[in-house]
Symmetry: C2
Subunit: 330 residues, 2 copies
DNA sequence: TCGGCGCATGTTAGCGCTCACATTCGCCCT
DNA sequence: AGGGCGAATGTGAGCGCTAACATGCGCCGA
């Protein structure tokens, strides 16, 4: 920077001002500085900038590894939103989801002087963590427990699960089976509870529930193998689209057609879901919107709006071809 | 840090040494320092550390946005590998893939004093960029042009595409159609060329090619609609699994069964591919391995091993149920 | 014509750490 | 018992920037 100042015949402070877009710089001066910067290929040192200004322009993201669609797309759109607001992202993925590893991840990020933390881990382990964690910087949860803190961006899971269940009921099915996600994932629990609630409200039998799903197509397939041995199953709500895919596969292998024999509803609406065989009826979650809202939340928090909050994003039912009336419906 | 030093009755330098695990600290002293750190909840400031040491422990990652499976899983496994080696990651995603935006992304990362750059963008636009880009720090390409630079981690695309084509030929198909990826993606080109080469070598007719695929299931579906109107198509090699999925859907809609009427091979082996209907025969790419190799490459480069290189990762053919002999094969 | 006001720019002092070197201390060897 | 050596610790400077304040300069109105 000193070199630039020398070449442009100004002080280093003026260079700094130009770089920061401060007002009150004569155009001629600015041009000289800009030219010098260009000529020298100068690039300012962010570390020094952070050190001196105590602002890092960095926001930390903790996400569960494993490349799940939801967390991944949220992180990606968050990056875009952050970039647009002049922030950059530091990413940490969790190899295992425990309170300890979460805390370690947060520590790493905190050391990097991030200004805020975004936790995209809707896991039970994230709960005590976020509740008690007084880190001195804003923490926002994405897809987390919606009751834990107002600082949350999420899709309305309850509404989504009820929508899915009701859709199946409305088609004439007696009841709706459910293939749930892992029990330690908050969203899996919420969807399960909402499914059960909707069933009860409609005064239907609540079928027995099998845990063990882990969001993967494989686990959906395995649940499907068990389910397809059971008679009387005409409608299934799977906790996500991957599991629905595996389920459909298992059903097909057992000779049960979708949707003629069994109707299936998923959750997420993956880009691929319209092209499953059959195209999947599902609940759409707008993940990119979540990223944007999380960023908006952060900015408000950073401005001191201590209890900012954003409303839940609406879940929407996308009806395609994996659902139909039950086989012997009159 | 001064506070810690005071409390532990040592100098700030000793605190620094403890933090950095320097040898030659008396256990008693170390304990005092550790306790002081704990008591004060002290956390060292990375910015100051970087500034003073000129080492950031940070590696920059540029990846195409849009949440594609490949780039995403590479980035994720890279994060894990980096973490294991004591590095952290700064992530930038590209909203549009042009040389300009690539350069801007690199600039942002460079400002953050990253020690190396990983570019996970197998796009034509990345080519001149990486070739001419003298940034003074190691740049490694993942999934890039394999001839451009030795600093590349990638899966052997040529082998993969030939494997796919030959598998179909071996089953007895006269020729193999191809649904290619976008023409400005290096891998799409390489796969196309290898497919064509394999066909020529077997002295088969090379069917006309339609561009326009963009890796999405939708584009595969659209290509499939055109293809299914064409008679004589019995075998198709799709440039990735998503496109294969869309293709299968289009084929089904046109009343052509997979694999009885038409065989389909994909590329990537998504976690979901075994659960497509039918389970997809495909070429597996080991993306996590790519992340690990990229990290290994970086570490060697950082150690001064200027022209380190790693071999290509082998592509492997996974035979499932979307391929079979042609309908009227004798 | 001159004081004074405000815009443009310069000056100085750290931010919190690490590096290179200086110092101290304990202990062994002769 | 004393010199010397190495292990453990301390000291001072400076990394590249920004914040706060100081200064200079042109121009307006009386």
């Amino acid at each position: 920077m000193a070199d630039v100042a020398l070449l442009a015949q100004v002080s280093h402070q003026t260079v700094s001002r130009v770089l920061n877009g401060s007002p009150g710089i004569r155009p001629g001066t600015r041009d000289r500085v800009l030219m010098a910067i260009d000529e020298l290929g100068y690039r300012r040192n962010v570390a020094a900038r952070i050190l001196a200004s105590k602002r890092s322009g960095n926001i930390g993201v903790i996400t569960s590894g494993g490349g799940q669609f939801g967390p991944t797309s949220v992180a990606l759109s968050l990056e875009a939103a952050a970039h647009a607001s002049g922030y950059s992202l530091s990413l940490v993925t969790l190899s295992e989801i425990t309170e300890r590893s979460l805390r370690a991840a947060a520590d790493r990020l905190l050391e990097q002087s991030v200004e805020a933390l975004v936790v995209i881990v809707s896991h039970r382990a994230a709960l005590p963590f976020t509740k008690s964690f007084d880190v001195g910087i804003p923490v926002v949860l994405v897809e987390g427990d919606l009751s834990a803190t107002p600082l949350t961006a999420g899709v309305d899971q309850v509404q989504g699960a009820r929508l899915a269940t009701r859709h199946l009921l409305d088609l004439g099915h007696d009841t709706v089976y459910h293939i749930a996600g892992p029990p330690d994932w908050i969203e899996a629990m919420v969807r399960r509870d909402a499914w059960r609630e909707e069933l009860k409200q409609a005064r239907r039998r609540v079928p027995p529930l099998r845990w063990g799903g882990d969001w993967s197509a494989r686990s959906g397939y395995e649940a499907g193998r068990v389910l397809s041995r059971e008679p009387g199953v005409t409608a299934v709500f799977a906790a996500n689209d991957q599991m629905a895919l595996g389920l459909i596969r298992a059903l097909n292998e057992a000779g049960r057609r979708v949707p003629e024999d069994v109707s299936v509803v998923g959750f997420d609406d993956l880009p691929e879901s319209p092209f499953f065989s059959p195209p999947l009826t599902t609940i759409r979650q707008d993940f990119p919107e979540l990223g944007r809202r999380a960023m908006a939340l952060i900015q408000r928090l950073l401005k001191g709006d201590a209890h900012a909050s954003v409303p839940l994003v609406e879940a929407v039912l996308i009806i395609r071809e994996s659902t139909a009336p039950p086989p012997f419906h009159n």
